[in-house]
Symmetry: C2
Subunit: 245 residues, 2 copies
DNA sequence: TCTTATTGCTTCATTATGAAGCAATGATAG
DNA sequence: CTATCATTGCTTCATAATGAAGCAATAAGA
């Protein structure tokens, strides 16, 4: 079974994009509970999910390509994007298009640039494009079956994020404008995959000096109202660039 | 002036390699004093130096390509290699081949994968291949004029190395089998670009537990003979993989 | 044999971290 | 309208890591 849309897009790609090079985006979002990634399911691809991805136009910078791809999928515009690795093994896509002719674009040997993106989960609306059947957030600890090495790419992105979080602040792009200390802690725990001591987290984050305490609280919860914070973006950037030994 | 060799190699590359994709290697070596990179000068390229680089064969994994390229240049075989970034801006090579026809391989738009390599300076003999005029070690703080964005690539590689060194051991690939504590410290200082306190360095490295103290000293120096060490490779690997918050 | 620079390793003060706890608070149940 | 409860803000205490400095040992050269 050869799907007409796939063949059509193949023709388009050969004319407009750099061959053998693709981009896959691991989009992280946080929903107060868990760390999620944005996944989609192609119409022709049984039960397997894929990362949002695409190709690099012949006259397009890599970062621009990644931004474009993400905007198409998520509608989101101002997104924190970072190329974290390259996946260049052979036969990455072997088997997935075996019913098609050899000159099918998607059947070529591809080197994929892995980007990860950090987005505020609440400001993204997953977009289901014509060739997709579904597009949604999936928690990183319950990933579905995925195509090719996409699960590995996610694992790699997560590992990168976990390294970052050790010595750099995180959250600016993952949390809404205003948030509470427990929310920030839950984000850290979701990324790291384990619980942190509350008092020590409070002390450490406070000393980082990246938070502005707002003069209001989040009322309506079941218990004591937590104080709202926002990031001090100047100090946040400074902390991103600092390092010490 | 169009150089025949360049045109010949262009034809070869179109047949054998993935178009639009190249690899550049930042090879770091340490010579007891300074951190160096391996650079070469092409015959046709005036006074500009370049990073050793090459192309990815159509049926070749990325890491294999990088290994092959490095082996050709340095003769070295067992080398620590790591892809650290991708450089995909437009017009990276603009101007360098402007006298050639547009179908010249080297004139295409290239996305470059940046690898950095750590080698024992003493075990590498720079190889001057037919298209090169020179190939040598250059100290990172006195780099010559370089082609395209190659200086930026080196800066990027160095930044990556400096991040690594903060929380992971380094030296296994940069130092000879046996070395002294002051030598290791000088390596750290060369990478970081500033001096470290001697006693604290000693204490920290010792606590890392990655060194085996050998039962001999380096005699012949001008002063007290320093003890020789080698790396405990098991613990070294463990330290590479560990992390904590 | 005395001087010198260097090395191995320790000491002391300061700071960061892990573990635990106390008082305040806001919603809810009685 | 008060008692209960989980949660929060923030602190305390013990322990570990770090920065700065110093002391004794030592190999080479004067």
């Amino acid at each position: 079974m050869q799907i007409k849309e796939v063949i059509e897009s193949s023709k388009r790609h050969w004319q407009t994009a750099l061959p053998h090079l693709s981009i896959d985006c691991v989009v992280f979002g946080f929903d107060q509970q868990k760390l999620n990634v944005l996944l989609l399911k192609l119409k022709d691809n049984a039960n397997n999910w894929i990362l949002p991805g695409g190709y690099v136009l012949k006259e397009e910078a890599l970062d621009d390509a990644a931004k474009r791809i993400l905007k198409e999928r998520s509608g989101a515009d101002k997104i924190f994007l970072n190329a974290f690795s390259v996946f260049g093994n052979l036969n990455r896509s072997e088997g997935y298009f075996k019913e098609y002719d050899d000159d099918l674009w998607h059947k070529q040997r591809f080197v994929t640039i892995g980007y990860y993106a950090l987005v505020d989960h609440t400001s993204v609306t997953p977009v289901i494009d014509p060739s997709s059947e579904d597009c949604r957030w999936m928690p990183i600890d319950e990933l579905p079956e995925m195509v090719m090495d996409h699960k590995n790419i996610i694992g790699n992105a997560l590992a990168t994020l976990r390294e970052q979080i050790k010595y750099k602040p995180i959250g600016l792009n993952l949390l809404p404008e205003e948030f509470t200390m427990p929310e920030l802690q839950r984000l850290y725990e979701a990324i790291l995959g384990y619980k942190l001591n509350r008092g020590n987290f409070y002390r450490r984050i406070t000393r980082f000096n990246i938070l502005k305490k707002l003069d209001k609280e989040r009322k309506g919860g079941a218990h004591k109202a937590p104080i709202l914070y926002s990031f001090d973006e100047d100090n946040y950037q400074k902390a991103l660039n600092d390092f010490s030994w």
